[in-house]
Symmetry: C2
Subunit: 247 residues, 2 copies
């Protein structure tokens, strides 16, 4: 049985302020929840599921303290869910905590300058994970990585990629020995660049691109050559192409 | 002034059946609508806009038969729009008609085997346009390219890319001279493949991949090498990476 205060509480987690205060986030659907449970570095806070899901997934759920598991019916799930077509399971996890300072040498880092669309941010985190890039630094104006839409689009990669919100200019300032690549519309063609073992890749805002103040002269400005009529590529697609080529 | 029947009519265009019968589709937002108006091969059927938008865009709108232009207020736009946050302009266009049979030699074609997410389909059409691929053939089970969410994600590329719905096996059967590449999880690494001037690239469904019946022995099965923990890449990101490398 679901009580009204529980629905209200879950719904309140759509707000960044509440997520930050509570240190929690929501994930929906069997695939992503199984991934997050398997990841080993995330703590489950609460799990809401239909009887059908709980029956099939009994062995898994058996591992979880039963007070954390709440059985709901389809109507109740509709009230909880952030999705138009709710899944049979919704879970609340504790926000992952990554310790120690970020390191930039000998590895790849993504710098996201104000990616605003949650779907794009989630898809970028998923692509980073595919290409073995395990740290992403967003400008403070970017979408929040624990927004339910971002979490859905990451497809579980949120457990493996460290995402931080920091001033990007300071990061560039203090890492002058690491090669920096900026995704721009007019730069060196990407196929002229060699791949490497370390680097910082900057991706800009969906409509405004990278803020000019970040583009100092020591940065490699790189472009995906355009052969047709589209004015631009989707930010997540462009990031995938850059990562595929450079890493 | 907006009448109830107009709202009902626009809303009915969210259904594929109605779009097919009427031969119309909906686009929203100043950027995409300006792109579609500029494209030159699309006929505007109706345009709904706020006073503010009409004032600024007067010169453009002046080109359009005024009976096609209906001024609405913000409340009315909310009732018309398919978006959570409506723009100041919404337009209904006639479905683009491409004549003549598809040709596969000397060019690139994308074959989409049941791409179901409208955002993915739209982003794929936009990427195809960027890389100069001007024809996309979808299996009949794929999302409809004139679904409002697809149109939004194409960002205007819908005017430049021919999208058809056909049996993919028949296309492969009748084009045995064109090299075929299939995006799979275990195949030849993409960086081992050379780019070329012609080809057919097959992209599979978001969760099931390409139907095995399409994967005959003469097809090049190609993979984007995985370096990290993610199980898969988003279908639109993967398509972008393939197109970037092969075309």
């Amino acid at each position: 049985m679901l009580v009204k205060s529980q629905v209200k509480y879950i719904q309140s987690l759509s707000q960044k302020k509440v997520r930050d205060e509570e240190g929690l986030f929501v994930a929906e659907g069997p695939k992503i929840i199984n991934d997050l449970l398997d990841a080993g570095n995330l703590f489950l806070h609460q799990l809401f599921a239909t009887e059908a899901w709980l029956q099939v997934n009994g062995p898994t759920v058996g591992l979880i303290d039963s007070r954390q598991v709440i059985q709901v019916n389809d109507k109740e799930m509709e009230r909880l869910s952030f999705l138009k077509t709710p899944h049979e399971v919704l879970a609340v996890f504790r926000k992952p905590v990554f310790k120690g300072p970020l390191k930039f040498e000998g590895r790849w880092t993504l710098l996201l300058d104000t990616i605003q669309d949650p779907g794009n941010l989630g898809t970028i985190i998923r692509s980073a994970d595919w290409f073995g890039v395990d740290q992403v630094v967003c400008s403070v104006e970017s979408a929040d990585w624990l927004n339910p839409k971002v979490v859905q689009a990451t497809m579980g990669s949120i457990a493996r990629v460290r995402v931080e919100y920091q001033d990007l200019a300071s990061i560039l300032e203090s890492n002058k020995d690491v090669p920096v690549y900026a995704a721009v519309l007019e730069g060196t063609p990407l196929d002229k660049m060699k791949s490497g073992k370390e680097g910082i890749l900057i991706i800009g805002n969906e409509s405004k691109g990278i803020h000019p103040s970040l583009l100092n002269s020591s940065i490699n400005k790189v472009t995906i050559p355009r052969k047709g009529g589209a004015e631009s590529l989707n930010a997540a697609v462009a990031t995938g192409i850059f990562l595929s080529h450079l890493t």
